[in-house]
Every structure is written in structure tokens, then in C-alpha cells.
Symmetry: C2
Subunit: 408 residues, 2 copies
Amino acid sequence: MKILVQKFGGTSVANLECMKKVREKVIAGLENGYKMVIILSARAGDTNKLLALADEWSATPDPAECDALVATGEQVSITLFSMLLKDAGIKARSMLGFQLPIITDDTFGQARIRSIDSDAMITAFKDYDVLVIAGFQGCTENKRITTLGRGGSDTSAVAVAAALGSVECEIYTDVEGVYTTDPNLCSSAQKMTKISYDEMLEMASMGAKVLHIRSVEFAKKYKVPVRVRSTFSDNPGTLVTQEDSTMEAVLVSGIAYDKDQSRVTLRGVPDKPGIAATIFGPLSERGVLVDMIIQNVSLDGDTTDMTFTISRKELDKALAICEDIRHDIGIEEILHDDNVAKVSAIGVGMRNHSGVAARAFAALQQEGINIMMISTSEIKITILIQEKYLELAVRILHDAFGLDWDIG
Amino acid sequence: MKILVQKFGGTSVANLECMKKVREKVIAGLENGYKMVIILSARAGDTNKLLALADEWSATPDPAECDALVATGEQVSITLFSMLLKDAGIKARSMLGFQLPIITDDTFGQARIRSIDSDAMITAFKDYDVLVIAGFQGCTENKRITTLGRGGSDTSAVAVAAALGSVECEIYTDVEGVYTTDPNLCSSAQKMTKISYDEMLEMASMGAKVLHIRSVEFAKKYKVPVRVRSTFSDNPGTLVTQEDSTMEAVLVSGIAYDKDQSRVTLRGVPDKPGIAATIFGPLSERGVLVDMIIQNVSLDGDTTDMTFTISRKELDKALAICEDIRHDIGIEEILHDDNVAKVSAIGVGMRNHSGVAARAFAALQQEGINIMMISTSEIKITILIQEKYLELAVRILHDAFGLDWDIG
């Protein structure tokens, strides 16, 4: 039995016309001899409407009740789509999270999948050719409905593909695939034919927004081949898969960026063991998500400077927390800047090649772009710059690493 | 543990303001020392909106998918209401049909309850004081979602009360209780304090519309005391319960009526065994619901007349079916009339008292109302009259049986 998993997001199932386009994809899969598993999100806007209801009813909506409320969005889309398939003479049925079941932990609103029973799907394939499964939702051991957090339908799709023996999982979206950088910023951006899980993880966390990051982690763990493609064309899209030698031959595979950055610098912080925990503990406790952290080497042996970046909307909160701890710790000065942005070069090829960072710095310097912070990982170099230079920096790096031709 | 079951319909949970009124009822119950089970319908209008969606998506919506779609209406109302209870510091949780579970057969759209697991409720009462349960829905043994048909939330409430040991079940609605007749037709109509299950069944089938008929059958079978009362007052309402001696002392307890009637008479039907089946078989097969049936004694020994009543919207269909079988059977003439209405006097007291029918006929005759058909059961006399006399007939019978004072 050949099985193909396809996932369609909210804009793909927004209305009857859109769903009819999705049905064509399903029919094409059936004609190619597949049994199909279709994972759907709620219709565009439905989830937000339900969340708005919860906020109208309660200042602090109970998370468990909120999940059971919001889960109705997918219940509506999968039942409507199943009706549409049946009307075309296709043997199809809807399946909710509790019906499979997709068992999760009980972190309502942000639940993690623990197990998926593939037996129920295999059994259902005796009577049906298409199973239309609600994305984004699962249930606890005690049968309470949970949701997986924003973008969780991608994770549902990959997890179901993993449970079925790591069959291919197609994630349909409104773009043609994964690009070397944002085509809106850089007209020479190229669609990639293939990308490794690790590269995709770095792209996703930089706001590439094509795939939910947890779905990529899941895909990597269970080696599920994921194809990102468009609902509105027949382009084969981009395959996210295991690293291979062709990928390693390429130094940098993509340039990502993030505009939603602000920088806080704590000057004159006592340079003693445990100081980082004293600063970042309170930030974490109050829900501030810190992105880059840089601590300079102490020059005088007594004090050091600590710089970190955060999302702009959390700047005020972060500054207030820093003020709270300022005297206890003995911070000399608190500086901040919210006109900053982050640009990254990503590629598994960096593991085996030196000089990538130097090439990036040189390219930016040549155009007079000042580098404010640098942070590197095994397959990524991230540079913080003034926001006004962002578009220019993306194009410079894209050119510098020869991404303006199709690397597929 | 004292348990009270309360059911609120769609108008009682239509919006936030309404739900806050419902919350007051729940708080009052808690203050009286009860653990509470609250059964809710979908918010007014939601079910119709969902059914309209199904009709937009499919000319013939798949019944199983339609049930899973429509069941989201109650999922929304119970989660929102649970949030509201939690906000008031009440330990509450929502429970869906599959979570209890309420097991039904697989007649989607019109499922019948097979069993309800009260253990889940008793266990939940260790952690919660209020369980907010979705009315109208259940699930099959295979975990597919079912609905119980229009008005099914009443049945859910009574069935849950039965499962919990036939505790009292309060059905909240927008009227103060069950009246001796329609107050809109007869200003002297009185609210009853008590009514027997059998009387209520006869009232309900005549369109009294206060309680869904299957819920009354359920209540009778499991001896669940059901109290019909208003969400918007503190009136104790009407208790529907087992027959007792005070009820039997009253000859007639209520006057019901039904305007949606039309009459078909088949003249000159051969008077031979099996003739009724030959006529009513085809009607039943094509979904025509026949109400009253009267066959006169044959006068000539060869032919007889057969008269039956049906809902007006089915008159054309019924006439067409009669034409189809006319020649095979040898019916002389097919007559019909759609300006007819039905009025009934109902009371368990009739079982032990004679003369009720005579008193009814005399009262109508005195006002010159012609009786077209008569049909009697153990506790009901039904009379078919011209529609224009209906309001008058209701008032005459109400007076004739002394219902214009409170019978409580």
C-alpha cells in the first residue's frame, strides 16, 4: 500500500472554491495509486474568530477549555472537505485527534505529540481511500482535547507521516517552495530543489515562515521527506530531506533575516561566576524570549559588557526587568537600540569549509555596512546590523555566496 | 452526594449576557449543596448556520460528516460557559459526548442513546463541582460523532439524569412551565404544578413544544423527575413526574391542538382483509407520516371509507401516492381538505371516569362547531374540526373542563 500525506493550510481551505482546488490534488494522488492522508488546518480566519470569542468570554480563558473551543475550527474544515470528496464519489472520512488518537501531553495550547496510533489509519484504509485528519489537535490520555500551538498542523502532518513509516509528506502553501532568500527583498532569489533538515531549521527560526519549526525537528528525527509546494501550481516545490554530498558541496544555501529585533546592552556588569544566570533568570521567568546573547571578554578583569537581542514588543518589559535587578547586581549602565535587524547565512557546507565568515564580513564592509554583533553556529553565521541596511545586506550576501543561480 | 441536572436551550446561552444569567442558576444550585451537571444546546442560530454550510458544500451532505460538523455548535457553547464558571472561581469542566461517553447507535442525525457511563461523571466530581456537558451529541462504539436529532438536548439531559440514578432534571426554557392550554389562544390558561409523563407525552406530540417527546419517553422509562421552568424567573415551573392520586382526581388536565393538519378521505374502498396495509404501506415507504386514521364500519358489506390526516406540506405527496394505487385497489373517489385542525383533551383521570367524551362533544355542539372526526385513546380525546373554529374550540373545552383555575 502506497501512502501519501498532504497538508493544506487555512488559505488553501478558506472557502468552497479553494477546497475544490485541493480536491484536484487529492484526485491526482489517487490516480497515481496512492491511499491518501489529508491533514487540514481550520479555514482562514476561523481560529482567530474562536480565540476572539474566548477573549470576549474571559479575561484569562482556561487553556483546556480554549483548546476544546479552538479545535472546532479543524472539525469544521475536515467534515466539509470530506463531504466534498464524497460528492465526487471518493471513499473518504474525517478523523479527529481523539479518533485516531493522536496522544499528546497536557500542555494545553502548546501540547507535544507523544504517540500516534497508525493502526486506526491502516484499518480505515480497508473501507476508505482518503482519510481527512484534523491538524493542530490531539488529546491527552484522559481524552481531553489539546492543540499543538500556532502552525501545529505542519507538525500533525509530519507526525502522521512518521507514524505511517516515514512516507512522503507534502506541505501545501501559497509559495512555490523554499527560496535562497526572501524574493520580496532580492529579485534574484532562487527556489531550492532540496534543502537539509538542519538548514531548514535555521531558515525557519529566522522567520522564513514556510514550515513550522517543530515539524522540521520531527521530520529530522523520523527522517520524513517533506516537500514544500504550492496549492495553486504543479511546481514540484522544495524537498526537505537528509543531508547529502551535493548539499555539502554548497557553502551557503540561503540567506535569512529577521527585522523584529531590538538590542539591550548592560555596561559595567561585575565579571563573576553566575552573573549570566542572575540576569537571564528573571527575563526567562517573566516570559521574555532572548535571542542572541553576547558577553565580551572582560578587559579590566572586574567588569564586562553583556548584550542581548529580543523581539521589539518585549523591549519595554525587558528594560523594566533590567532596572529591577540593576542595583542588586551593580550594572553601570543600560543601553538599548530598536533600529536593528539580523541577517544570517546558512549552509551545511560551512561544516567543512573555512572562510565563510570572512567572506561575509568583507562583502558587508565593502558596502560600508557596520557590523554590530556577530554570532555563529556550526551551519549559520548571524550578523546584527542597523535596520536601514537590511535589504542591502541581504542582497550583498546573496550575491557574495553565488545564490543568484539555481543551486538545485 | 446530591446531584442536580439542569439543561439550557439555545436562547438561554445565545450570548455572554444570557450565559451570565445561566451562571446564576448554577451558583444557586451550588449554594444549595448540589454537585451540578449542566447540559447545554448550541448558541441560538449556530446549528442552523452549520447546517447551511453543509448544504452549501454538498447537495446531499454525508450524514456522518454532517453530525461531526453540527456537533461543534455544542462544543463552542460548553467550552465558553466553562470558562465563565472558572472566572467565577467555580471548579468546572466541559465534557463532550465522546468524553463521557454517551454511546449511541449509528443512525447519524437521529441517533438513539444506548448507554451513558456515569463512572466518568462520578470520577470527575472528585475534582470538579460542575460538569458542563454537550447536549444533542453522542458517539458510536467506533468513536464516530452522532447527533440525536432536533430537540435532542432534552433527551441528553434526561438520559444523563437517569444514568446518575434518576436525579431531578430541570429543563430551562423561555416559558414558565407547562400550561393547561396555549396562553396565546386562551387567556385563562393556567400553569400546571404537576403533570404525569403520559399526559406530557400526549401534550408534546400535539405540538406543545416545551419538551422533546423522546426525552419524556426516557423520563417515564427511568422515572426521572423533570421540572420545566424559565431561565428568566424563579418560578418553580411544572414537574413532570409519575402519576399520582391527585392527578387521577382531575378529569382533564390540558387542552392541546395542532393546526398543521390536512385530511384525505378514500371513498368506496373494497372492504377486505389487508386493505389498510395496501394503502398505508406505500405512504410509509415514501416517508409520509400519517397521524389520525379512521375506518368506518362497512354499511353495504362490500366497500368502506378510509380517512386519515397528515401534515399539510405532505398533502400533495400523499394525494399522488393515493392516485398511484387507486386503480390497483379500486378506490371510488379521493377527497381532501386542508382547512382542518385538531384539538385534544388530555388527562389520566379519563381512565377511571366516563362521560368525558360526551361532555366535550356537548360543549362544542352548543357553540355550533361541527365535529369531522373523532379519535380516542386511554387518556386523550382528539377531535378534528374546521380550522376557523380552532381558537373557539380550545377556549370552550378549556372552560368545559374547569381548567381556568390553577389545578396544582
